[in-house]
Each structure stands twice: as C-alpha cells, then as structure tokens.
C-alpha cells in the first residue's frame, strides 16, 4: 500500500539487545529532548491578553454593509438564507417609505435580519450568494461567548455596520479575494 505521508516508517519488531533493554540510554535521550524544549520558543500564547493575528481567509462574525451614502445594501431577497446550509439566517422583508431613502438603498429592505450564531458554521456561502454585496464575514472578529442561547441570535442591531463613516468595517480584503 502507498504510504499516506512521507514520514511513514517501517517498524521492525526484533528482539532488543542488552543495551536497549536497559532503557537508560533511551530515557537519557528523552530527557535531553525535554530539556531542549525547555529552552525553545513557546508555541502557545497567553490568549486573552495576547492574541494571534487572524489568517487572511478567516471567516468570523458577519457584518451587514452600508453603501457609501450610509444606506443599507441588503434588500431582503433571501438568497443568503437559501444558501445557508445550517439554516441560521431568518429575515422579514418590508417596503421602504419615501422618507427612509437615506436608510435603505432599494425599495425593499430587511425589517428583521437574524443570524443564529449557534447554528452558523461560518462557511461563507451567504457571502457568495449575496447579489448586493451586503453580507460579509469579518476577518477580524470572533463571535463572543455568552451565558445563554438567546443572546446568540444576532439581530440587525449587532450585524449592521455603524452609519458613521469613520466606524465602517473594512472588508476590502474579502471583497477583492486576493488570497
């Protein structure tokens, strides 16, 4: 059979000689290894205080984007909910009133948009399905832990990015898909 990795080794089961049966040389070798590891750079980090950089392809918490004028891009077409393999997305559509033109880009908008973060598997299919470039998975934020199940259903209050142009969430890396 073809070996799965290049590190496969054929193990020979032969009788050990006296030197090997003493175990002591092997033990000393093992202790040299542990001592070497004592002085090596640690591979772990002290997590809450120290954080590792996320990968560029990291898919974290979702964000509902606004356009340059601050109007929500989402039109509640439901394609993300359809694409979602975990059925985590729920939404209610509503018609835009003439006075809300600065809030929503098109005539239809999502009155309610909820993602159940306990169901979500962070596959990013919603992002791919979205025809309006409205939903993205952030590469800089993890969904936080909570004490119950209820708080994990994220509504528009959490998902939609702030109106303030200085507080917009940068998803340009994901949009370009340069990775």
């Amino acid at each position: 059979m073809e070996p799965l990795t290049s590190r496969a080794q054929v193990v020979e089961k032969k009788k050990m000689n006296l030197w090997e049966r003493m175990y002591l040389p092997a033990i000393v070798g093992g202790m040299a290894i542990t001592l070497k590891h004592l002085f090596k750079k640690k591979v772990t980090v002290k997590y809450p205080e120290q954080k590792r950089e996320f990968s560029k392809v990291w898919r974290g918490q979702h964000v509902l984007k606004r356009d340059d004028n601050g109007a929500e891009r989402c039109t509640a077409c439901g394609l993300c909910a359809l694409a979602c393999p975990a059925e985590a997305i729920t939404m209610d559509a509503a018609e835009r009133k003439p006075s809300e033109k600065n809030l929503y880009r098109e005539e239809k908008y999502a009155a309610r948009y909820e993602i159940d973060m306990l169901r979500c598997i962070f596959c990013g299919l919603c992002e791919d399905a979205c025809p309006k470039e409205a939903i993205f998975l952030r590469d800089d934020k993890i969904v936080m832990s909570e004490f119950g199940r209820k708080p994990f259903v994220y509504g528009k209050d959490i998902l939609v990015e702030p109106m303030d142009p200085t507080k917009r969430i940068d998803i340009s890396a994901r949009q370009k898909k340069t990775f």
Partner: protein
C-alpha cells in the same frame, strides 16, 4: 490509564493530595541532598576565609539550591516519561538498577582497598 485519585478527587481535595505529593518530593530531595550531596557544604569554601555568618548564609542557599535541583530532576523525569509501563519499570529496577548499584558498591570497595 486514569489513576484512582485523579478521578476520585477534585478541587481542593485533589489540591491537598498533589500538594502532599510535592511536599514528599521536597522532603525526599532534602534527604538526598543532605545525605549524599553534602547538605549545606560547598566545595572549596573553607579556603576562602569568609566571615562565619556569610558562610552560614551561603550554606543555606547551597542546601536549597541542591534541593531544588533534585526537585527539578524529579519533575524532569516525570514529564519526560509520564507513564512508564509497569513491567518495563520492574525490569529496569530489578534487573538493571540493582545490579548496577551492586557493581557500584564493588568498584567503590575495590578503589578504597587499592588506595589504602
């Protein structure tokens, strides 16, 4: 694989258990350092003509350094070989280490005999 008291005890009771094991380790290290490694003595220190109080303080430090070296050795072995298979351990103890110690005894006796 799971040793009895690891599953039987939790929190402070397990804490006391492990604490007592470490106390045991400390005492054993202290006995070993005192009996076999010269206790509070350091080599060549009597030739330096230092004040007595300083020598006493250095002696205390020396004893504790020896004790901690032994404790480090204990932990070093323990984390290198977390579970030594018991039959192998028995083989090592009875068939290797005891003959080695008897050999050590014989060689030491021979050397003393020859030097005198």
């Amino acid at each position: 694989m799971l040793g009895g008291y690891h599953t039987e005890y939790s929190s402070m009771k397990l804490g006391f258990y492990l604490f007592s094991e470490y106390i045991n380790m400390f005492v054993a290290s202290a006995v070993m350092a005192t009996l076999y490694f010269g206790g509070y003595h350091l080599p060549f220190i009597s030739g330096l003509n230092l004040p007595h109080n300083l020598i006493a303080m250095i002696g205390v430090a020396a004893l504790f350094i020896k004790i901690f070296l032994f404790m480090f050795f204990f932990m070093w072995v323990r984390w290198t070989i977390p579970r030594f298979r018991y039959d192998q351990l028995m083989n090592l103890g009875w068939k290797i280490l005891i003959p080695l110690s008897i050999l050590n005894l014989l060689i030491t006796g021979l050397v003393i005999l020859l030097v005198k």
